[in-house]
């Protein structure tokens, strides 16, 4: 609740900071400070210091899990802002507004991760989506950005329609929007209305989480959007949607697992397949990363599929690892002039630090041990295996993970083993150190997951 209210307030503050401050640096500083405050406030709530004591339990419950994820999301956003706010300036003149929108999105994320009513979920998703439509189209002169915004908007609205149809059908069946009310005795036959509604919701959430076959918007939108915002969209937002996904299907439809788990399994397979296989042939790193984000979504979806404690924890670790690594890569990417693989040629010679950090991030994404990414994948696989479910799916997943190595390592190859022209990649020391910190975090989580996990366990 702390974070929700404050992020809304900070959003408004940022709106006006554009009027108050003339210098972009001040706006950035304000934004970053506000984000730090937000992080602190959220951590306070984890420590049971609540500023707002309304009873909102009909609509949302800020449990530890949600709060922990929010902390991760806010922290990741903080890192993201530090790393890429310089590039944000270049997108357009409305820096303050971008910051405001990002804060609003954070508010949406807090809603999405802690809803107890489908209404809150709907609002949360919309609060996330609408600013994203705008951020996607924020590079107004750029036709790619335009196209991406239009596609995103049209398809997003379409999926909203589907989601609403699902909610309506569930309401018809249950007479309530609360996810706690949807309890069936296992014996009774589930009404078709309910199943249809659930499926509609599944489709809509899959769309937001870019799960195949509802992923089609993702490559185009991620590719077309300004790189800085792609970074945000592909990481924090997507992870948040997954948290909502798990909450919805664990909370509301937990009893119907036998019905939907098959479809989720099929979707996992399809997502992994499409994401990884298509990424192989990409020529642009940015587009490759957008396909890879689809592929990663396949792994994240395991958290939904297995629907056990390990899966939920895994989702947290996975999203943390995924967010940090992807933000790191996008931060470097957004500083590059050439987004193709060739653009990375010889980066290690001229910018060893950037190359190194990118490598660590890529290794993490590829799931190499001793990085956070490995731990994420490990948790997902562990959850899936201990779930005793479909082991062929797990094997398929690891084969696809191996395919993913192919395209991630293409970047590493380009950076280290190929020669290229000297590139002037302007990275300030602050950014470099932040990248280094990101790498250290990735490795620390990978090597000493206890530290990370204990936090989670103590907070419970």
């Amino acid at each position: 609740m702390n974070a929700l209210v404050l992020s809304a307030i900070f959003g408004v503050v940022m709106m006006f900071s554009g009027v108050v401050f003339k210098r972009n640096a001040s706006i950035k500083a304000t934004g970053i400070i506000a984000m730090i405050v937000l992080l602190l406030v959220n951590c306070m709530e984890m420590g049971n210091i609540k500023f707002f004591k309304f009873d909102v339990s009909a609509f949302m419950v800020f449990n530890d899990y949600a709060l922990f994820f929010n902390s991760i999301a806010i922290f990741a956003t903080l890192v993201y802002l530090v790393l890429t706010s310089a590039e944000m300036e270049k997108v357009g003149r409305n820096l303050a507004e971008y910051f405001a929108l990002i804060f609003f999105i954070i508010a949406g994320i807090t809603l999405t991760t802690s809803f107890t009513s489908l209404l809150t979920l709907f609002l949360g998703i919309e609060i996330i989506s609408i600013p994203l439509y705008i951020l996607t189209g924020s590079d107004k002169r750029n036709l790619k950005s335009n196209e991406a915004a239009l596609k995103y908007f049209l398809m997003g609205s379409f999926s909203t329609g589907i989601m609403l149809m699902g909610i309506a059908l569930i309401y018809g069946s249950q007479g309530s929007f609360s996810i706690d009310a949807m309890n069936f005795s296992a014996a009774a036959k589930t009404p078709n209305l309910h199943i249809a509604g659930m499926l509609f919701l599944l489709f809509a959430m899959s769309f937001k989480a870019s799960v195949a076959p509802f992923h089609f918007w993702t490559p185009d939108v991620y590719d077309g959007a300004p790189t800085v915002f792609t970074s945000f969209m592909a990481t924090i937002v997507k992870a948040a949607v997954f948290i909502g996904f798990v909450r919805l299907f664990g909370g509301a439809f937990g009893k119907l697992e036998s019905t939907w788990s098959l479809w989720v399994a099929v979707m996992i397979a399809a997502t992994l397949f499409v994401g990884n296989i298509t990424a192989v042939f990409q020529q642009s790193v940015k587009r490759m990363l957008s396909y890879s984000s689809i592929a990663q979504a396949g792994f994240l979806l395991f958290g939904v599929y297995v629907m056990n404690e390990a899966g939920r924890e895994g989702l947290l670790i996975y999203s943390a690892a995924y967010c940090l690594a992807t933000i790191g890569i996008f931060a470097v990417l957004s500083k590059m002039t050439d987004y193709s693989f060739e653009g990375f040629n010889g980066l290690a010679k001229h910018q060893p630090l950037l190359a190194f950090t990118t490598t660590i991030c890529l290794l993490s994404l590829a799931g190499i041990p001793l990085t956070a990414g490995f731990l994420g994948k490990f948790y997902m696989l562990k959850a899936a295996v201990s779930n005793g479910g479909n082991l062929w799916l797990v094997i398929f997943a690891v084969v696809m993970a191996a395919v993913s190595v192919y395209y991630y390592f293409r970047v590493i190859q380009a950076m280290y083993f190929k020669d290229g022209p000297v590139q002037s990649v302007a990275a300030t020391p602050l950014e470099k150190y932040t990248l280094l910190i990101v790498c250290v975090l990735i490795i620390l989580i990978g090597v000493f997951p206890n530290v990370f996990l204990n936090w989670l366990y103590f907070s419970r």
């Binding site: 809304a8 959003g11 408004v12 709106m15 309304f54 909102v56 009909a58 609509f59 949302m60 357009g92 003149r93 409305n94 507004e97 971008y98 405001a100 929108l101 609003f104 999105i105 508010a107 949406g108 809603l111 009513s117 209404l119 809150t120 609002l123 919309e126 609060i127 609408i130 600013p131 439509y133 705008i134 189209g137 924020s138 107004k140 002169r141 059908l169 018809g172 069946s173 009404p191 078709n192 209305l193 249809a196």
Partner: protein, 166 residues
Amino acid sequence: MGITQILFWVLTVAALFSAIMVVSSKNPVHSVLWLVATFFAISGHYILLNAQFLAIVNIIVYAGAIMVLFLFVIMLMNLNKSTEPVKHKWLQIIGILSGGCLLLVIVAALRNTEVSQHMVEMSTGEAGLIKNLGRELFTTFVVPFEISSILFLSAMVGAVVIGKKD
């Protein structure tokens, strides 16, 4: 067959017909107007269901404000002629087919659902009255209501960001 039933069928036919016309009109302006007609038919249904508040809001917000905005944009862009290039015939057919199938499948799936024979309370009931809704909205639903302000804010900021000339 009472007057309610007759009205129901009339409104249903009107809604469906005008909805089809929205999709099939060549001229965007006509589409907008047919959409307004659809909204009116739906509002009629609301009234039949004794949900007066929604009926009014639907007409004011949707038919009134939103559709006018649409019309406005279309006029602005001078799209009143049918400038839209036609899609491939077979793409259209596939579109219609799949839409139709979707309808068939879902209807078939939901035909025998448990609630199918439940009656909908027509013309009576207090749930749709402004008083009840207002009370609920500002007591129980006050949190979502406030939250929707964030939505509006962001939409506003967004519209400004996008719409402002650089």
